[in-house]
Symmetry: C2
Subunit: 225 residues, 2 copies
DNA sequence: GTCTATAGAACGATAGAC
DNA sequence: GTCTATCGTTCTATAGAC
């Protein structure tokens, strides 16, 4: 039998599970409604706690939003890094039979689906983008560093390594990573309004396919820099 | 009957100038605050009319927002088309001394500045993007057709013509226009959160420069398709 | 016995609509 | 100008842990 309440007895101080439940509920409601439409009432209800508990844990609505947005940015970055490792890391071990176009396309497709298909995590990224003008600049900077910038660095590291193995002709890996994201992801993000509106598999496949093709024309191994 | 009266006397019903003032005020306030934060009170005050007048002209807050967003999308598209004509249309007449990199870069810079630098027009585009999940799909489609898609078609037409004159190696002009926008604009839009956060001239110049360079590697005249 | 988190009501402000 | 609904926030009383 599974032992519930392994650690703190009910009613004890600062239950971490309650905090986690609130954070998760906040990500759902903020992601679905946006910052201003989301009510603390709805978040408390979704979390199954009282409103006062929300305030005790997070101070106020804005702190709750920013705190959860930062946490979700880190989780999403980790998820994307895992996808990159799976799809691009493998290319290393398969030398001699490397299909760059397939591997890059598989990664681009998996990333786009992970971000744009109704996940809670990216819904919060959409919400903070929508609120950018009302978010303190230093918090925005922290969010960028934990989210989009971190992913770009991860991808750049993969491209740099692949270039070192002669699979790509890349001398500025950061720029190449930016171009990869622009050519294979930004168009899909734009068309789907960052995941707010569904995008069909066919449309995504077309964007990824043409994007990877262009990327390889820019950075493929046979292309002179 | 009631064929629309060409110009109603002052003080009569449905003064078009009042409607225009409301639309302009709405674009300012919606653009600055976003849809939910903007109050009808603030819009009426900005327009110098009473709240009741706003409701008489536009029905409710949502209709006001969508109506103004559509109008602004058209205006912005026209402004960008004018920039494209100025910077890319000239390339035709200067054959023999064509500097594609300069002309494309000048257009990209002008477009990015026009869209991302605190103009009322693009602020509304940012607002409707932020609200995409709460906008009726058919209205969203109309907005896309009047705004981003229309601009893409305009740019594609320029590229197609330039290709016909041997200035570019383009066989799919729509795809080339998409790539041009991705490589020279989307990065800047992303970094500035679609204009909500300022972007420095140096950063914009770098994005445009590397973007145009990559675009010409993809579609420059000496590149085989 | 004291401390603290919780639940739920209550308050003041503000917004949309007529 | 008014009305009504709703939101963010706070206050009060209760109940369990050291």
């Amino acid at each position: 039998m599974t032992q519930e309440r392994v650690q703190p007895p009910a009613g004890s101080r600062r239950l971490p599970e309650k905090r986690w439940a609130i954070a998760r509920a906040a990500s759902v409601v903020f992601g679905r409604e946006g910052y201003t439409r989301a009510s603390v009432d709805a978040i408390a209800a979704e979390a199954g706690v009282s409103k006062r508990t929300v305030y005790n844990h997070f101070g106020d609505k804005e702190k709750l939003f920013l705190s959860v947005a930062l946490e979700m940015a880190g989780e999403l970055t980790a998820a994307i890094a895992a996808l990159a490792d799976r799809h691009l890391g493998a290319a290393v071990d398969r030398r001699g039979a490397v299909d760059l176009e397939r591997d890059l396309g598989a990664f681009a497709t998996a990333r786009a689906r992970a971000m744009l298909s109704a996940g809670d995590r990216y819904a919060l990224a959409r919400a903070i983008r929508a609120e950018a003008a009302h978010v303190p600049p230093d918090v925005l900077r922290s969010w960028l560093d934990a989210g989009p910038f971190a992913s770009q660095r991860d991808i750049a590291a993969h491209l740099r390594r692949m270039a070192g193995q002669g699979l790509l002709a890349v001398d500025d890996a950061d720029l190449a990573a930016t171009h990869f994201t622009l050519l294979t992801f930004s168009g899909a993000a734009d068309r789907s309004f960052f995941g707010a509106v569904p995008i069909s598999d066919a449309e995504l496949a077309d964007i990824v396919s043409t994007g990877v093709h262009a990327f390889l024309r820019l950075y493929g191994p046979s292309v002179g820099s």
